[in-house]
């Protein structure tokens, strides 16, 4: 199922229970999938038009009045267009705003170039007290939503709108700030966030078939990072590969290496976008061009394992 459908289904259920939840859109209610909510909750769904900075501040005002506003738009229109509003009216002002940022990185596909952002985790993560989530599949999104509603403080959630593979079963439990331990091994640690977790799982399984063992950590909460899990794994494997649909500057690789360099200096590498301009293309072609495929994960992991 498309993630936007899972998202809206779960959000509607939560809105029925909690009358503080407000939905805001900036002319992308159709694209983001929130449109059906407008019929059921006409007072609590607010269309602001093509004005994302305005939307972020309206949300801050609603949050200051005790509401839990969810703002929705594509990644760059919140994490770039409304960045100062997020900095001042949301983060500095300590307002409970949730930012649902659709189609991170390569998932912009044919809207890429202008609509594509590989720097959102880096910029948003640098603000004080904001939580940053990078979602892998619809199950994780659905299971995370009740927590997202309850969380105290601003939260940024990057999520694909359309269909992804499914990694987790219905028994999945979302624990904010905790890594999902997906494979256990000692030759290398692979830390992957968002949809790159699919590629990381496949690459890890290929390595395992070839006789290597892999510690695989799925990271939905990029901030605050599960420091214990990463340090523990790095101490064991001595090699860490991060995997993300984001620039190598300041994203998951940044977060993990900030942690390790001070606490457990470890040989690291990244599957990430290496300072390359955004562009249009199919998601698969973009992944190949940016070096974000399962094969890239496998190759870089092997290189790390083989390094003395």
């Amino acid at each position: 199922m498309e993630l936007r459908k899972e998202y809206v289904g779960e959000l509607a259920a939560l809105m029925r229970e909690n009358d503080k939840i407000i939905v805001l859109d900036a002319d992308l209610a159709g694209a983001g999938g929130t449109k059906p909510l407008y019929a059921e909750f006409p007072d609590r769904c607010i269309e602001v038009g093509i004005a994302e900075a305005n939307m972020a501040c309206i949300a801050a005002g609603l949050a200051a009045s005790g509401y839990i506003p969810f703002i929705h738009t594509f990644v760059p229109f919140v994490a770039r267009r409304a960045l100062d509003q997020i900095a001042v009216s949301v983060c500095y002002s300590e307002q409970n705003v949730r930012m649902i940022a659709f189609d991170p990185g390569v998932h912009t596909g044919s809207n890429g170039g202008t609509h594509m952002s590989f720097e959102d985790i880096a910029t948003i993560r640098a603000f004080c007290n904001i939580a940053v989530l990078d979602i892998v599949d619809g199950v994780q999104l659905r299971k995370a939503l009740p927590y997202i509603v309850q969380h105290k403080g601003p939260m940024y959630i990057r999520v694909v709108r359309k269909q992804t593979d499914v990694l987790f079963g219905e028994d999945y439990k979302f624990e904010f700030g905790k890594a999902d331990k997906l494979r256990d091994g000692k030759d290398i640690t692979i830390v992957a966030s968002g949809t790159m977790l699919f590629d990381a799982v496949r690459a890890a399984d290929k390595l395992i078939q070839e006789g290597k063992t892999v510690d695989l950590l799925g990271i939905h909460t990029v901030k605050p990072l599960d420091e214990q899990a990463i340090l523990q794994s790095a101490r064991k494997t001595k090699r860490v590969l991060t995997v993300e649909n984001h620039s190598i500057h300041g994203g998951l690789y940044g977060a993990v290496t900030e942690l390790l360099s001070a606490n457990e200096p470890t040989l690291c590498d990244a599957v990430a976008v290496r300072d390359k301009l955004t562009q249009v293309g199919s998601v698969n072609d973009l992944k190949r061009d940016y070096g974000l495929t399962e094969q890239d994960v496998y190759d870089r992991a092997m290189r790390l394992i083989e390094r003395k």
């Binding site: 007072d43 609590r44 602001v48 038009g49 309206i58 801050a60 005002g61 200051a64 509401y67 002002s93």
Partner: protein
């Protein structure tokens, strides 16, 4: 205390606050003192003993750098001890020069990065409607601040959603950091612009208590589905002759011991 005396007390305490730091946003603080005096003596439904009272009127000081004038007003009203005024911008203070909702009793929204206040006020106003709370949300912006495009996003939203309990008060002191607003980037016709966006707009002398009071009464009583705008013609640095004469430089300037003494003499 009558409005004129209240206004003089606010001016004196605004300068006390700025003098504690030795400098600051003198001009734009002094230009809004008279409207603060009218608002807080005749209109703002607030309770200093319960600053978060549910049905209070709210004020968003979008030109957040004029914090010292609001702090002086709130201190005199009893929201916090007047001694706090001497802590402006000192590490750990409850009074940062740009207003912060979490630090100061009586401050209803954080502001400082210009152009965000009206949008935040729209959020407050929508929340009021959802909760069924009948109050007014006042927004004080600068005239130069209207150069920020986000104001017009907020204005469009306020009119579209018929938020007629929002009253935008524009402090038209006609100066900004780089010079006269008409030369830097002309924002006139301000009333015409707000009217074009669907507001009712009035223009008044921002230092005439009666005119301000009448304008606010008119704005409050409209309740015609249109958000309200009051453009105040003001003088940057109002009330102290040498600050009034300073021109654009008064935006951020010194309050030395000598200047403070001379100003207090004028504001006796």
């Amino acid at each position: 205390m009558d409005v004129a005396s209240f206004s003089k007390e606010i001016r004196r305490n605004t300068l006390r606050c700025l003098h504690s730091q030795g400098s600051g946003h003198v001009g734009g603080s002094l230009s809004i003192v008279d409207v603060l005096a009218v608002l807080y003596s005749k209109h703002m439904h607030v309770d200093p003993a319960d600053p978060k009272k549910d049905d209070r009127d709210k004020l968003v000081l979008s030109k957040g750098h004029a914090g010292p004038a609001l702090y002086a007003t709130l201190a005199i009203k009893g929201f916090f001890p007047v001694e706090w005024l001497d802590t402006l911008n000192k590490l750990g203070t409850r009074l940062p020069s740009h207003v912060n909702i979490n630090l100061t009793p009586g401050v209803d929204m954080t502001a400082g990065s210009l152009g965000q206040g009206l949008s935040c006020a729209c959020g407050l106003a929508v929340a009021d409607r959802l909760k069924g709370i009948d109050r007014y949300v006042y927004v004080i912006t600068g005239d130069g601040e209207l150069q920020e495009g986000q104001n017009w996003e907020g204005a469009m939203f306020a009119a579209h959603k018929k938020l007629d309990h929002i009253v935008v008060i524009v402090d038209s002191n006609k100066l900004q950091i780089d010079g006269a607003t008409k030369d830097v980037m002309n924002v006139e016709d301000i009333c015409g612009k707000f009217e074009a966006f669907g507001f009712d707009a009035q223009r008044v002398n921002g230092h005439d208590f009666d005119a301000l009071d009448k304008a606010i009464v008119k704005a409050k009583s409209a309740r015609n589905g249109k958000p309200q705008c009051i453009v105040m013609d003001t003088v940057k640095g109002k009330g102290v002759s040498f600050y009034e004469a300073m021109g654009a430089g008064v935006h951020s300037t010194t309050v030395t011991d000598e200047q403070y003494a001379a100003a207090m003499e004028e504001l006796k």
